[in-house]
Each structure stands twice: as C-alpha cells, then as structure tokens.
C-alpha cells in the first residue's frame, strides 16, 4: 500500500472529513498544489476552488471550498474553511443564488471594504459556476 497522510477538512460547524489519503490537491491562493506524504511544512491561504482527494490512484472525493487556510505539517494536512460542500451537491440554483447575492452586495456596497467583499462573493460564485460547467 502506498504511503498515506492524514487529511482533515474542518468547517466551523463540524469536522467534514478526517481520513488517511494518498494525495490531496488544494487550491492555494498562489496556485493549486498537491500534498503528498512527507510534504514540506507549509501554511497557505486558499482561493475559492476544488479540493481533490486522491485515494488508490484516483480522485475519490471533491469538495468545493470558498477560501480558507491550509496547513501542511509532519502530522498531515489540515484545511480550515468557512464553507465547504461536496462538488456533487452543487446545483445550478445554488450558483444562481450566489450570483444574485454577490450582485446585491455589489449594488449596496458603500465602502471599499464592502466592494472587496462583493468582489470576493462574485469570485466564489464564478468559481462555483466553472465547477458545475466542468462537471456538466
């Protein structure tokens, strides 16, 4: 059996996933990166995107995350996100809702901070749409 590492995916609400995996691909803010066992310790922020969990040479699970943090240490990889959902659970309605929310945010934005938040929401929605388009 190939080497494995412990991968934890945690949201504020609950521990979404905690298991031994062969590899995870994480959407780092400076680009996607793969984490294999014995990866160098790294702490990175995340961009909205998809986490691929590899098991037995194939992708077994995919999660969409809206941004957060990843920590890789000798103990394994930990991903902290405020929002995550399985890719197969994303629906077109969800994406549309997100887009509408982002648009509303952008319309009501009064300060630079608000505008930044709106842009971020828009980005998350776009990424979500891209994911769904890829999945067909």
């Amino acid at each position: 059996m190939a080497d494995t590492l412990t991968f934890d995916l945690v949201t504020p609400g609950r521990l979404l996933l905690s298991e031994q995996v062969e590899m995870v691909i994480v959407p780092g803010s400076e680009g996607y990166f793969g984490v294999l066992p014995k990866h160098a310790p790294v702490i990175s922020t995340l961009r909205p995107g998809v986490i691929d969990v590899h098991q037995g040479g194939a992708v077994t699970r995919q999660f969409f995350v809206a941004g957060g943090f990843a920590e890789v240490s000798a103990a394994g990889a930990t991903v902290l996100v405020e929002e995550a959902c399985a890719v197969k659970d994303i629906t077109r309605d969800m994406v549309e809702n997100r887009k509408a929310e982002a648009a509303a945010l952008a319309d009501n934005a009064a300060t630079d901070d608000d505008r930044k938040k709106a842009a971020r929401a828009r980005w998350v929605a776009d990424e979500m749409a891209a994911v769904i388009a890829r999945a067909g």
């Binding site: 934890d8 945690v10 949201t11 504020p12 609400g13 609950r14 521990l15 780092g28 803010s29 400076e30 160098a40 310790p41 790294v42 702490i43 990175s44 922020t45 943090f69 920590e71 240490s73 000798a74 930990t78 902290l80 405020e82």
Partner: protein
C-alpha cells in the same frame, strides 16, 4: 382563614404553573442536547485554528512588525468588555452570574484607573448593565441566537470589535461568557481576545513555508480567529443557558409539586374541620330540643 374555594383556586393555579415549568424543562433539555452537539462540533475548527495561529505566532516571536491585533497597541488604558448573556430569563443564576462577573470586572478596572467600554451581546446583559453603566455601553446585539447560533452573527460581533480596534477605540478586549461544564454547572469566565494572547509554546520545531507571506496570512487569520472565538463562546453560552434553564425549571417543577402537596393537605384539614364543626352544630342543636 382561607375558605375551601380559595384553596381549590390556589391548587389549580400552582398545578398549571407546574405544567408550564415541566414543559419548559423538557424543551430546554432537548435544546440543550442540540446546543451541546453544536458546541462540540465546533471544537475541532477552533482548536486547529488555534494551533495554526500558534505556529504563526511562534515565527513572529520577538520580532517587530507583527500585526497590531497580536502585538497590541502597547498600552492598556481602554478596556472593552464583551458581555455575553442570554436574551431571556427563567434560567436560574445564569445571567446574573455573568453580569456579576462583568460588574466586578468593571469595578476592578476602574479602580486601576482604566477606561472601560462595554459591548453587550444578549438582551439581559444590556438591560441590567444599562441601569448603572449606561454611559459605558457602546453598542449591543440583542437579536442573536433566536434559534441557533450562526457564524454570521459571531462574524458581525467580530467585525464590530475589529473596526473599533482599528479606530483605536480600545486597547484590550476581554470576553465574559459562561463556559459549559455540564448541565448543572456553568462557569462564568473571562477570556482576552484582543490582543491575541500568544501561546506559550516555543517557535515551531519545523520552519514553515508561508504562502503568500506570513504577514498576509496572519492579517487574514486574526480577524477570522476572532470570529471563531466569539462563535465558540456563543455556542458555549447557548449550551450553558439551556443547561441552566433545565436545572432551574426542574427545581421549579419540584417546588410546585411540594407546594401542591402542602396545599392539598391544608385543604383537606380545613374540609375536615368544617365537617366536624357542622356535626357538632347539628348534635348540639338536636340535644337542645
């Protein structure tokens, strides 16, 4: 001497009170279970975030240029107290314990010559503190935790605290809430959240790579950590509240039961006394004839 009818009315009213308190106890028990589960489910995230922050903080130790939120403003003149209570009462000493702690803290800080500001989360705390410390309360959130505690609400509080800190309106922020130990025991506690108390652990044994940079990550992580800390204490508070309410309602139900027993006894005694009296009247009337 109350009449028999008075007794019957009182017994009926205590009985309906008992029904209400026992129903409230039931409701609190089921809500407690849910709140407890939520509090436990939130623990891994908070713990891991703390660990990550600890690692980051380790790399900043003794260096200049750490974000203000961690290093502090270098003063501790103005204290902000985040007083977290429930919105409702009927929960024994839950709210008053927190409020008492808040009052002692305010008094202590004032004795030391510090300026105190108060931010209330939960209606009970605001209503009570408003009486004596009206001028200290900067803001209050009273619409929270209607059903369940949401992260969005905690984030709102955290944003407010961050904004105030960035505007230089306080130096140290302490949270006062009730830690959930068991359904019977809740411990009012204080926790400093700004500046973030750097963990005692030494620098990480292995140097981390940071992407984009440690500073940027920290800038991103600290406000989030604040929200998570607030979120966690809100959850603990909610669990404590239901625990306290359950215990309070349980003893209220038991008291009502005692009272009913007592009243019934007195009711029967009075009834018997009246029967005896009537009998005596009849007999002595018959004898007189």
């Amino acid at each position: 001497m109350p009449s028999l009818k008075d007794f019957r009315v009182r017994i009926a009213s205590v009985q309906s009170t008992k029904k209400i308190t026992s129903a409230m106890k039931m409701v609190a028990a089921s809500k407690l279970r849910r709140a407890q589960e939520a509090a436990e489910a939130a623990r891994p995230y908070a713990e891991r975030m703390e660990k990550m922050l600890g690692n980051l903080a380790g790399s900043f130790k003794g260096q200049a240029g750490a974000p203000k939120m961690m290093a502090g403003t270098g003063k501790d003149d103005v204290h902000l107290l985040l007083v977290m209570t429930a919105n409702r009462g009927l929960c024994g000493g839950f709210n008053s314990n927190i409020i008492r702690m808040a009052r002692t803290t305010i008094r202590e800080l004032r004795d030391q010559g510090k300026t105190v500001k108060v931010l209330c989360v939960g209606r009970r705390g605001r209503d009570n503190l408003r009486r004596d410390y009206c001028d200290l309360i900067v803001d209050s959130f009273t619409e929270f935790g209607r059903k369940t505690v949401a992260l969005v609400e905690a984030a709102q509080v955290a944003t407010k605290v961050t904004d105030m800190f960035e505007a230089g309106q306080f130096d140290v922020c302490t949270m006062i809430y009730s830690r959930f130990k068991s359904a019977m025991t809740q411990i009012p506690s204080r926790q400093q959240i700004v500046p973030f108390p750097a963990p005692a652990s030494a620098a990480p044994s292995v140097p981390y790579d940071y992407e984009p940079s440690d500073k940027e990550i920290l800038q991103d992580l600290l406000p989030r950590n604040l929200a998570i800390q607030v979120f966690r204490s809100m959850l603990e508070n909610a669990a404590s509240f239901y625990g306290a309410q359950m215990t309070a309602m349980d003893s209220a139900t038991r008291n009502a039961g005692d009272m009913i027993r007592n009243l019934t006894l007195r009711y029967n005694r009075t009834r018997q006394a009246m029967i005896t009296k009537e009998l005596i009247e009849i007999i002595s009337g018959a004898e007189a004839v």
